[in-house]
Symmetry: C2
Amino acid sequence: MTERIVIENLATIPEGNVTVAGWVDKVRDQKKVQFVVLRDESGAAQLVHPRAEESDPIADIISGLATGTFIRVTGELKLDERVKLGGLEIKIADIEVVTAANPETPIAADSGIDKRLDWRFLDLREARNNLIFRAQTTLEHAMRTYWIERDFIELHTPKLMASASESNAELFEVEYFEGKAYLAQSPQFFKQMAQSAGFGKIFEIGPVFRADPSFTSRHATEFISVDAEISWIDSHEDVMKMQEELLVAAISAVREKHGEEIKELFDVDVVVPTIPFPRIPLAEAKKIVAERGYEVPRKDDDMDPEGERQIAAYVAEKYGHEFVFLTDYATSIRPFYHMRNADDQTITNSYDLIWRGTEITTGAQREHRIDILEAQAREKGLDPTELEFYLDFFRYGVPPHGGFGMGLSRVMMLMLHQPNLREVTYLFRGPNRLTP
Amino acid sequence: MTERIVIENLATIPEGNVTVAGWVDKVRDQKKVQFVVLRDESGAAQLVHPRAEESDPIADIISGLATGTFIRVTGELKLDERVKLGGLEIKIADIEVVTAANPETPIAADSGIDKRLDWRFLDLREARNNLIFRAQTTLEHAMRTYWIERDFIELHTPKLMASASESNAELFEVEYFEGKAYLAQSPQFFKQMAQSAGFGKIFEIGPVFRADPSFTSRHATEFISVDAEISWIDSHEDVMKMQEELLVAAISAVREKHGEEIKELFDVDVVVPTIPFPRIPLAEAKKIVAERGYEVPRKDDDMDPEGERQIAAYVAEKYGHEFVFLTDYATSIRPFYHMRNADDQTITNSYDLIWRGTEITTGAQREHRIDILEAQAREKGLDPTELEFYLDFFRYGVPPHGGFGMGLSRVMMLMLHQPNLREVTYLFRGPNRLTP
């Protein structure tokens, strides 16, 4: 590897000769002295070059540097409290242009989101954007570590399926040799299969696909779903308990590793929630929202996004909490595989998790009794013969189980107070965006 | 959660009252005493019930237990050295049938692989198969931990693309609203994009898709690719160095956590390789193979699978090593984006990694100089206008970089000495397999 020191480590070494490498962020080309702000994956530093009286090849190189050009620089590191960037500066002794950038940069700080996404690789050079993905890396690793310390098995379920995983709507069709395949909308059936296979506790972090033509701030046609499924639960309460512990572990890790930088670049405090998160049955939540003057304008029994914001506001006021589990969703609006309440068949052992007004998760206990499961499928208008491969999982024994699915980018969006998924997704995919 | 103790923890608690839960593996229904072998995600234990003289409801339940039925049992744990299963036994006080299994099990120990895959959820109940996925979980976590300790960023690149990622062959086409999309054959372009974005070092573990009609033991239409890409390398040597360290960390973790159990169930020693792995330029490897009496029957400059086995045998004999990096592949058989050797344009800065005769990785330094990259694309018969979005990454500055892609299931197959990918994939996908 090129011998170089990453910029964030400059503060930890003594003054003297160093090599750094990265891209040119800014050049101030003054008469007597030239300054270059150099950035790499870890931060930014100031390079300085006092112009020589006569021929000065280094000055000529610096004068020609375009923003984005990658350079390698050797020079003398000096501490200098007056320098804003970390209180240090490197006096250039040698400079090498590694790749010259096209000087006409296609995006600027005030470019719109679509333009920025067209040039995402340049947009991602922004320190804020780089931080999003470092924070996401920490979040994911903390979640996986939480699970692995508790003996969960990591799954990779197939994304190519012979039939729909949940409904025939929003399904992408694939040409598969002489036939057709479909892209998985969720790992639902396959993570339940692991329960019948006796895996006990599993998780998966992987892509899912929805042929959803919406253009909201919260939808994408491809996104990363964080899924877990556990055996031997008594009800959805056991799933919620695991999920809230998981989120506390994950958010704590982000706060610890990146909290200060997030405060600086996003002006956001990463708040670690307290356990337990508040829980409100959906019917009660709708009453609370109605008392606040908002009637959910839906004919079915579901909440709507404004209702979710209202109940979040209520929870923030009453409990000082950013999260709320809405529980016991009506049978009419839940899929056939959600278990119904033993005492009230009109509601299910299920929940949604709302974070600051936006839904990030649906979870539930699953129906594991084959006769009831078949009846519920029929009642929802599904043809059990098309579900045979799934129903078979329940014919040869399966423990009571449940789990959840959570959108990774929604979590990042809410944690960093961002306005939409596009900002926090490496490469967003929507109905009219398939590039870059 | 149901109060229960997982079986592997029975050995750590005192004799007395316990609750266990899992599925019935075997029943020995004798005249005076009944035995049940119970399995859960962690192991197997013996349950015992001495028949009563008169009416005995527990005995009736046990007599009716089908293999695979999930039960919950409370009873008295007793240590008993005569019991083969862990030297302990639970005397049943109470038994509850949670889900009765269909007594006609569709597969048996001697069923063929296709039949077993049709009933994969039952096949996965085998202790060996369960162990595969626990070992894989450990392997992946060790790899991610290696990377995260070294400040790599985890990426999730999109699997839906507007055009081919590498070649137009083996590409799955997706109906995408009014148009078409394609499934990513690799994250190649998008992980290189991260280098231009200044991410420095990245990894991804995610699915890739190949419309490859082959039916070999080593191919699948969907598989998990382990990818890494790093900036500021001097050559492919830096990539190989990272990969061998990564594999040592990962294989060590598996050996430490599961080595004994793998020895017991697979009769396989997990061997941690020594560093550095042997490196042999491809041209030299072909000479060595020829001297061993095998002429690679290919017209191009590539190795073939038998050649890979031969060179692996040579390396095993000469260096006592299971791994070998074959380096410096001919330009003619490498993609346009592999960097060529500065002194010899007929070879590339690339490698394959062979483990016990099977290729598990292709890696390379990438060409980052836009003029050369465009020329190489043209030379390979590609139309640079179709590659514009990719070529743009290089027009605005990019550091020298390289990386590799490694098939996760190939690693598991070779580590556990399994004959094919089907055995080590949760749900295999091939040209004629899309279910379950």
